[in-house]
């Protein structure tokens, strides 16, 4: 099992964001779906320790998350946030930064290609990219770290249909090319059906359903 969550709860002020969550997320392509405010993005942030739960336990590959060095964990379990947030400079310098942090050799052309961008994007300044291109550059930057798991938070939320379809095709292609697991947060069950083989449906911070697509999204 990729992730196992036991009795995970988290409050933010007055709001119970996650409420005694217990579930398992298998390797492969998993989707976390649910209405906005159901705790999907918060759950994703717990999986690479950008935040910790107030109570409960999370395991990654059978070992408590708290036992991992958070920095090493984040290079292995890479989160691509909903809104693109690249560092100032070129796309290539962003890729280099990520690869150096992970101590990996950088093949910029391959990372860009996997994210659906031409190699010449390496030279482009991030301030001159469209939102869709920025989203792809974020994906390429995450891939530069050669992660084992990609956590994707609403990767197409800011995009039009054409750009969404292109990113989805890229993600399918990624799964085919690399031995990598995806955990995808989406408010759109149809997108979960297109991209994942397993789903977790959250409602108000609780597990409403989980399992195969038929079981979870019925």
């Amino acid at each position: 099992m990729l992730f196992e969550l036991r009795d995970v709860s988290l409050r933010r002020g007055e709001r119970q964001v996650l409420d005694s969550l217990a579930t398992q997320i298998p390797a492969g392509a998993a989707a976390i779906v649910g209405p906005s405010g159901s705790g999907k993005s918060t759950l994703l942030r717990l999986l690479n320790r950008l935040a910790d739960p107030d109570s409960g336990a999370i395991e990654y590959r059978g070992r408590p998350l708290a036992e991992y060095d958070p920095l090493a964990l984040r290079r292995e379990v890479s989160l691509v946030p909903q809104l693109p947030a690249l560092l100032d400079g070129s796309v290539g310098s962003n890729l280099r930064y990520a690869a150096d942090l992970a101590g990996k050799e950088l093949d910029a052309g391959r990372c860009l290609g996997l994210a659906g961008l031409d190699p010449d994007f390496a030279e482009r300044d991030v301030s001159r990219l469209s939102v869709g291109e920025q989203q792809r550059a974020m994906l390429a930057r995450a891939l530069a770290q050669q992660p084992r798991v990609l956590l994707l938070d609403e990767p197409t939320a800011a995009l039009d249909h054409a750009a969404r379809d292109a990113i989805e095709a890229t993600l399918v292609e990624l799964r085919r090319e690399l031995d990598i697991s995806l955990v995808l947060v989406s408010h759109d069950p149809a997108q979960a059906r297109r991209l994942a083989s397993w789903a977790l449906r959250l409602e108000r911070g609780r597990v409403a359903a989980c399992g195969t697509l038929e079981e979870a999204l019925a």
Binding site: R49, L50, L71, R74, S78, L79, V80, P81, A85, L87
Partner: protein, 257 residues
């Protein structure tokens, strides 16, 4: 540099005519500042008179211990004042206190070690006061900016943390901007000094009857000492304060959390 002039209370009282003018303009143009002008004037009389007597006592006692007590009190009050302008930075008091203390001690230590001033109350008190005051203003500006930068860039900082960057690496661009904004005002005023305005020390010395060349030289020394102390204070304040935004697990703390 032994110059001394006597200023009578009558002369000070006469200068209040200009305060009355300021209050009258405020009243006439309805800027609603009359009350503040009166409060500011009364406070300036009380505070400066009190510090004047305190300095007189310290000069007469010729005690370095008293100098240290006075400057330490200024560091504490400076840190408290600066903290009120850096509300978005959690736990800003300690970084500010350490920054002001380090900036004051290093700058005074250097000017004494380099033989610029003697280690006597007559030099240490006024120079120390200026250094700590300017360090306070600069570090308040720097931390104010740091608070705005970090709260306004949470998504960008988390995106960098998500790559496995340390808090220090993720905060670096914002710390750099904060550092710059704390220092730039003094750099700019140093550039224009003598052209657009006459700095206070020089004006004071000229009024007291000093040679213009002496006035200029002393002013230059103080400007450079201030540049050094402001750089040290903003470096220490931002370098310590950014850590308070993060947990030991290199997570960005929730606002107010």
């Amino acid at each position: 540099m032994s110059i001394s002039i006597h200023v009578s209370l009558g002369q000070v009282a006469a200068s209040l005519a200009l305060v009355a003018l300021a209050a009258a303009i405020s009243f006439w143009r309805q800027t609603d500042l009359e009350r503040d002008i009166v409060v500011a004037t009364v406070r300036s009389i009380v505070q400066l008179t009190a510090i004047g007597y305190a300095i007189k006592l310290i000069f007469e006692a010729d005690s370095l211990l008293l100098v240290a007590v006075l400057l330490s009190a200024m560091v504490v009050f400076g840190a408290l004042t600066a903290r009120s302008r850096a509300k978005k930075v959690p736990g800003a008091f300690w970084p500010l206190l350490i920054a002001l203390a380090v900036a004051g001690a290093t700058t005074l230590g250097l000017v004494v070690a380099l033989g610029i001033f003697e280690a006597t109350p007559r030099y240490l008190v006024p120079v120390g006061g200026m250094v700590i005051g300017n360090a306070m203003t600069a570090s308040a500006v720097a931390l104010n900016r740091l608070g705005d930068e970090v709260t306004g860039s949470r998504a960008a900082i988390e995106a960098t943390l998500a790559l496995g960057a340390t808090a220090r690496e993720a905060a670096a661009p914002f710390v750099r901007r904060a550092l710059r904004s704390g220092t730039i005002a003094l750099v700019d005023s140093t550039k224009t000094t003598g052209l657009i305005f006459f700095p206070g020390t020089m004006v004071g010395m000229l009024l007291a009857g000093a040679e213009p060349t002496d006035a200029v030289r002393l002013q230059l020394i103080l400007l450079y000492a201030l540049l050094g102390s402001v750089a040290i204070a903003t470096l220490v304040a931002t370098g310590l304060a950014y850590r308070n935004f993060f947990t030991p697990a290199q997570q960005l703390r929730e606002p107010g959390g």
